[in-house]
Every structure is written in C-alpha cells, then in structure tokens.
C-alpha cells in the first residue's frame, strides 16, 4: 500500500514538473541601431533635423519577444498611453518606426507552421494569417558572443512585398537556446535569433530572462489570409506609386 502511495506521489510530482517545464518561456528584449543612413548627406535642414530625431527615437524603441518551444509572440514594448511631449515627438516616433518597419502582434506557432501579425497599411490595421516566411537560411561558420551566448551567423533572402524588392538578411542565432523564434518575422533558425541585420537597422538582443509565463495567441475578429493581403498591397501600391513617387 505504501509502495503504491509513493509511486502515485512520484507520478504526480513528475506530471507537475513536466507541466511547469512546458510553461517555461524566455522573455527577450530587443533594441534597434539604425544603419545605412549616409552621414553629411546634403538634405533640406528641416528634413535632416527630423531624420536625426527619428533615428534617436528608434534607438529608444524596445521590442519584446516571449517564446517557448511551441510558439512565440513579438510586439513593441511601448505603452500605448505614453505621453509624447509634443506633436513633433509623435512625428519622430512614427518616422523612427519606419526604420525597422516591423509588424505588430506577431504570433508564430512553429509546430503548426503558422504566423499571425498586424500590419498598419494606409492608416488601417489589418490582421493577417499565413505561413512563416522562408528565408532559405544559409548557415555560416562565423560566430560571436551575444550577452554571453555563443551565436552563429546565417544569411537569408527576403522579398519585401511592400517595397517589391529583395534584401539580404543577416541573422545571428543561439544554438544553445534551440527555439526557432526571433524578432518580427525573422526566425526559423535552429536557435533563438539574437541579432538581425535589416535594410536600415540592426536589431540586437538587449536582455533575456527565463519566465514562467505562457505565450498567448492574440485573437482578432477579422483575419485576412496572406494571399489576400499580398493582392491588396500590390494593388494599393500601384496607385500610391502613380500619385506620390
């Protein structure tokens, strides 16, 4: 009887230990370092001043990622109720956010190969569901240390449907954290993405901590399939390019 009792206690303990482990997640904070801006470029002084302040605003931006072995959630960590000093501060913030051009509410379910994100297009939020982007990552030999973790280099190609252009993406991933997560849509490597080099910014991991928090999938009323989103962007961009460029 006592043997049966101790076995039962052991099974219960094992069950709870597995449950607790499955809840274990990482919270990663990323910071932004703008790059590929030409210094001393001849610009209208008003334009130059706004760009300089927007770059400063982007440097102050922080993004967070909560990831476990099944799924992840990425967003801007800025509080919506933040008090901007002036309208100009809002201008710097909005222009600064163009530097990374990140999506909002990026939910990635790696096990189901699904992604959900919010994109603000022409002043409207669109919630889009599709498959994660395939970067065709090439793993390189180079490595470096990021916050004490050994990171390996990978390069990939990203076709940006909004800009109708292809860009090379450089990512540094951490094999010792075997979670295929990363900032925004930049993931899919055999380890957490600690740094990613984009068109106008280098996004770097600033902190990482283990948390006992589950990843919550955001829910939206109207979700647009990815194919519909691509079609919408392509038609809207054709009109905009005629009028503005």
């Amino acid at each position: 009887m006592s043997k049966l009792m101790s076995k039962t206690i052991l099974y219960i303990a094992l069950f709870f230990s597995c449950y607790i482990n499955s809840q274990k997640a990482y919270k990663i904070v990323y910071k932004v370092e703008p790059h590929n801006f030409i210094e001393n470029k001849e610009l209208n002084s008003k334009v130059k001043s706004v760009i300089e302040q927007a770059i400063k605003s982007a440097r102050r931006d922080r993004y967070f990622l909560i990831a476990n072995d099944k799924h992840s959630y990425f967003n801007n960590s800025q509080n919506m109720e933040i008090d901007f000093g002036s309208e100009l501060d809002k201008v710097y913030d909005k222009v600064g956010k163009l530097i990374t051009a990140f999506n909002k509410n990026v939910y990635n379910h790696y096990k189901k190969d699904k992604i959900l994100f919010t994109r603000n297009l022409i002043n409207n939020d669109y919630h889009v569901e599709g498959k994660p982007y395939k970067f065709n990552w090439e793993l390189k030999e180079e490595s470096k240390t990021i916050l004490g973790y050994q990171a390996k280099k990978a390069t990939g190609v990203y076709y940006d449907i909004i800009r109708n252009k292809e860009f090379e993406i450089i990512a540094w991933f951490i094999p010792s954290i075997p979670i295929p997560a990363g900032p925004d849509i930049y993931f899919g490597l055999p380890g957490l993405v600690g740094e990613v080099h984009l068109r106008k910014a280098i996004v770097k991991m600033e902190s990482i901590e283990e948390i006992n928090e589950s990843v919550i999938k955001p829910s939206f009323k109207d979700v647009m399939p990815y194919e519909e989103y691509v079609d919408f962007v392509s038609k809207a961009n054709a009109k905009i390019k005629k009028e503005y460029n």
Partner: protein, 68 residues
C-alpha cells in the same frame, strides 16, 4: 527709340519672372518636406508610409507643427 523701349520692357519682364521662379523653388511646400522625410527613410512612398506623408503634410499645413 521704340526698339529700345521694347528691349527694356522685355528685359525687365524676363528678369522679374526668373526672380519669381527662383523664390518659388527655394520655398519648399509642406508636402515636399513630408515626402522628402519619408523618402529619406524608406526610399519610396508605399502602403507602409503614405499615411505618414499625409499626416506630416496636414500637421505642417495646419501649423500644428513647425519643422525645426
């Protein structure tokens, strides 16, 4: 005499109109500044940033903001 007067009138007209054009191009409109800001960051106007161009233009035209 008539010829001299005509040349003088034409030259004054040509001088004043070129001066007017010069002043016009030097003064960039709110839209030009808004467009140039976004182009500098993004390289083109697209679905991601067109609302920012319009918003900057609106704020500038309404003099809510004065670009520094």
């Amino acid at each position: 005499m008539k010829k001299i007067v005509l040349i003088l009138v034409l030259s004054v007209f040509a001088f004043s109109s070129s001066g007017f054009k010069k002043a016009e191009t030097l003064e960039e409109s709110c839209f030009d500044i808004a467009r140039e800001i976004v182009l500098e960051v993004d390289g083109e106007i697209n679905t991601d940033n067109v609302s920012i161009v319009n918003w900057l233009n609106f704020l500038c035209e309404q003099e809510v903001i004065l670009f520094p």
